[in-house]
């Protein structure tokens, strides 16, 4: 099922399909190892719509909700 990263449940995995944004955001995410095709594990949500914590390529990254909502993903069962 295609959705955005901020909608993925905790402890679920998803594959990045597309990053909806300009070169700036693509580069910022790319530097953290997030590109289309990469697998992301959702670790937790912050309180009060705070940032989300994900794991990608073995490292943990905090992402603001706004940014997470620009990452289009396919959930993995």
């Amino acid at each position: 099922m295609t959705t955005t990263l901020d909608q993925v449940y905790e402890n679920k995995k998803a594959t990045v399909i597309d990053i909806q944004g300009g070169q700036g955001i693509r580069q910022r995410l790319g530097r953290m190892g997030i590109h289309p095709g990469d697998t992301i594990t959702m670790l937790r949500y912050g309180a009060l719509r705070g940032p989300i914590l994900i794991e990608v390529h073995g490292s943990q990254v905090a992402l603001g909700r706004g940014i997470a909502s620009k990452i289009l993903v396919e959930e993995i069962e």
């Binding site: 953290m32 095709g37 937790r44 940032p51 390529h57 603001g64």
Partner: protein
């Protein structure tokens, strides 16, 4: 010969650097500890080398100012050997930078650091295969314990001797074709004057790297040719050219990673994950955060108060003794009293609070707690128009404003950096904390000191809201790596604290003593009256003794001076006998907020320009006057 340590943030470059330099670079467990380069001269196998510790950089594509600093060095053509330090437990992501560094076609050694971490995660790396594919030596290491570093530097010397350059891995054929078209244009029509290989330049231009695009801007026909080729790439792949290159590089990296590494067992159950479950919990995380900072506060106050009291008594006795031996009103008395009071201030007031504070801060930094605080605080920082990463300069600001202002380089957006730089100067640095502890907590009550800290946070938040409304930054959003917890060797933490304490002893303390003596001389000659007279409108409005005026001027040099000079100006270390409790509160509130010290102003000037520094001065001064006045009204009229 020049060696540069390059690698992604938090992979241990500074730790390696410190093993060869003694302790020269601050290390911590958060991305972006090093925001400007540090260098050292060292002797390796009989050759004198300059070793440069660069700020961490995730990629060679334009990034935040700290990354640009690293890139500038790497592209300068003055680096003889690059040591690419890689966190072996994050090999996949790290190789992305490695491939870009290889495009620079300079002698290079790959240092696979944190091998113990990789092992724990069950990642096995075929070192020989990796070395063969990249064409450069690959050395496993554990920098924290020094393991592998000797071999590393031996290899550095040998690649330098042989001028051995690694292999540049090639992208897909169609992409390479376009790269070589551009590359050959450089060679034939426009000779490259840059000190970088022409292929690297071609790739960067296709990647739409703003720095290089700007460089070629005057050459109109290059710009059109580049644009044409960018469009061609976009046509073939259906995505913008920068994305084409980055996915190509990513694919190469993934491919390489799969070739050289195997996961031999699932990551060992890690107690650190269980800790993080609570530390980053949406509810308990905040309780723990409050608990840690409350405990921290009590620890410093407890330690400091315990040491301050007997020391102050001792110095009081000595100062009393001086009067007897030199006689009232003599120059020698004034001078020796000034010197002794300056020394007393350093030993009995500053050190008891400074030492536990700096050790505590170092521990928090080294363990890796600060990025977690950034995660927890992000949502609140958004309320004042900032994001979570800005909490790191703020926390560092409790140590010293200068590194805090420098640390704003880890923020991506200029306006953001501007606002946070000004705000960090309002966070009480160790010197001002000492004043809060030494005057308010010690003479009034610990709770009154806590109230000042709480007021401070509130004011910083409101100021943040005001500044971000004046200078809005549309493009917000947190992207921050949360590194695994580390238990640094105690030795490192202590060394770092010592490094910072030494700064106080060597630089600040002599200034304190000299300042105190100078004030005593001014008092003797009757000059200090003029300073007091100039500031008397201010001191009168705030209801402070006129004699504290000069101490406020001295406080601009070093914040500690305000406290030490206070006892000098008042002529007694028993402040309570000449100032009321509410006067002490007003004084402390004013000193906490008013104009940053000279060193901080210099740092601001450098980071956000003259106008920014000026704005910071005016802004903090008005905030200080308003707050001190409000404190006075509140304490004298209402209570």
């Amino acid at each position: 010969m020049r060696i540069a340590l390059a690698g992604q943030p938090n992979c241990g470059k500074s730790t390696i650097f410190n093993t060869i330099s003694g302790y020269k670079a601050i290390t911590s467990n958060f991305p972006g500890t090093t925001v400007k380069y540090t260098k050292t001269n060292t002797l390796i196998n009989g050759t004198t080398c300059i070793c440069i510790d660069l700020p961490g950089t995730y990629s060679l594509t334009s990034g935040d100012p700290a990354e640009l600093e690293a890139r500038k060095h790497l592209l300068s053509g003055e680096v003889d050997v690059i040591i690419n330090v890689v966190d072996a437990s994050l090999l996949c992501r790290s190789l992305e930078l490695t491939l870009q560094l290889l495009e620079l076609e300079a002698p290079m050694v790959l240092c696979l650091n944190m091998m113990d971490e990789a092992q724990r995660k069950g990642i096995q790396i075929d070192i020989q295969k990796l070395s063969k594919i990249l064409g450069i030596p690959v050395i496993p290491s554990i920098a924290r314990t020094g393991k592998g570093l000797k071999e590393l530097f031996n290899e550095v010397m040998s690649v330098w001797g042989e001028k051995r350059i690694g292999k540049t891995l090639k992208f897909n054929k169609d992409v390479e074709e376009i790269i070589s078209q551009l590359d050959s244009l450089f060679n034939s029509e426009w000779p490259v004057e840059e000190k970088v290989p022409s292929r690297f330049l071609a790739v960067k231009l296709l990647e739409n790297d703003q720095f290089f695009i700007h460089e070629i801007n005057p050459l109109e026909n290059i710009v059109t040719r580049v644009k044409l080729l960018q469009e061609k790439l976009e046509q073939i792949h259906g995505v913008p050219s920068d994305e084409v290159i980055s996915s190509e590089r990513h694919a190469l990296t993934m491919n390489l990673f799969e070739k050289v590494s195997t996961v031999i067992h699932p990551p060992k159950r890690d107690v650190r994950n269980a800790i993080d479950h609570w530390v980053m919990h949406p509810f308990f995380g905040y309780l723990i955060l409050a608990g840690i900072f409350y405990g921290f506060f009590n620890f410093i106050f407890g330690m400091g108060g315990y040491i301050e009291e007997p020391l102050m008594e001792l110095f009081d006795q000595w100062i009393g003794g001086l009067e007897e031996s030199f006689g009232k009103g003599s120059l020698t008395l004034f001078l020796s009293k000034g010197v002794l009071q300056g020394m007393a201030g350093g030993i009995a007031i500053v050190l008891p609070y400074l030492v536990p504070f700096l050790i505590g801060l170092s521990i928090l930094e080294d363990i890796g707690y600060l990025p977690r605080v950034a995660f927890l605080m992000d949502v609140f920082m958004h309320r004042i128009g900032l994001h979570g990463k800005s909490i790191i300069p703020f926390i560092l600001g409790y140590g010293c404003s200068v590194p805090a202002v420098m640390a704003t380089r880890i923020l991506e957006f200029p306006r953001h950096r501007f606002t946070v730089s000004i705000l960090t100067t309002m966070i009480p640095c160790a010197a001002r904390i000492t004043i809060i502890f030494g005057l308010v907590a010690f003479l009034i009550s610990p709770n009154a000191a806590l109230a000042i800290f709480a007021l401070n946070i509130l004011v910083v938040a409101i100021s943040g809201k005001i500044l971000t409304t004046l200078y809005p930054e549309a493009n917000l959003g947190l992207i921050l790596e949360i590194p695994a917890y580390q238990l640094p060797p105690i030795r490192n933490t202590l060394k770092k604290s010592w490094y910072r304490i030494k700064e106080f002893i060597v630089i600040a303390w002599p200034i304190l003593i000299a300042g105190s003596a100078l004030l005593a001389l001014m008092e003797y000659g009757g000059i200090e009256k003029y300073g007091n007279a100039v500031l008397s409108p201010l001191t009168r409005v705030l209801g402070l003794p006129v004699s504290v005026g000069t101490t406020l001027i001295f406080g601009l040099l070093r914040k500690e001076l305000s406290l030490i000079m206070l006892t000098q100006a008042l002529g007694t270390t028993q402040v309570l006998t000449v100032m009321s409790k509410s006067q002490i509160m007003v004084f402390t509130v004013f000193v906490t907020f008013y104009i940053p010290c000279l060193a901080t102003i210099a740092a601001l000037w450098k980071e956000i320009g003259k106008k920014g520094a000026l704005l910071a001065i005016l802004f903090t001064l008005s905030v200080a006057i308003i707050l001190a006045l409000a404190t006075r009204v509140f304490l004298e009229v209402i209570i």
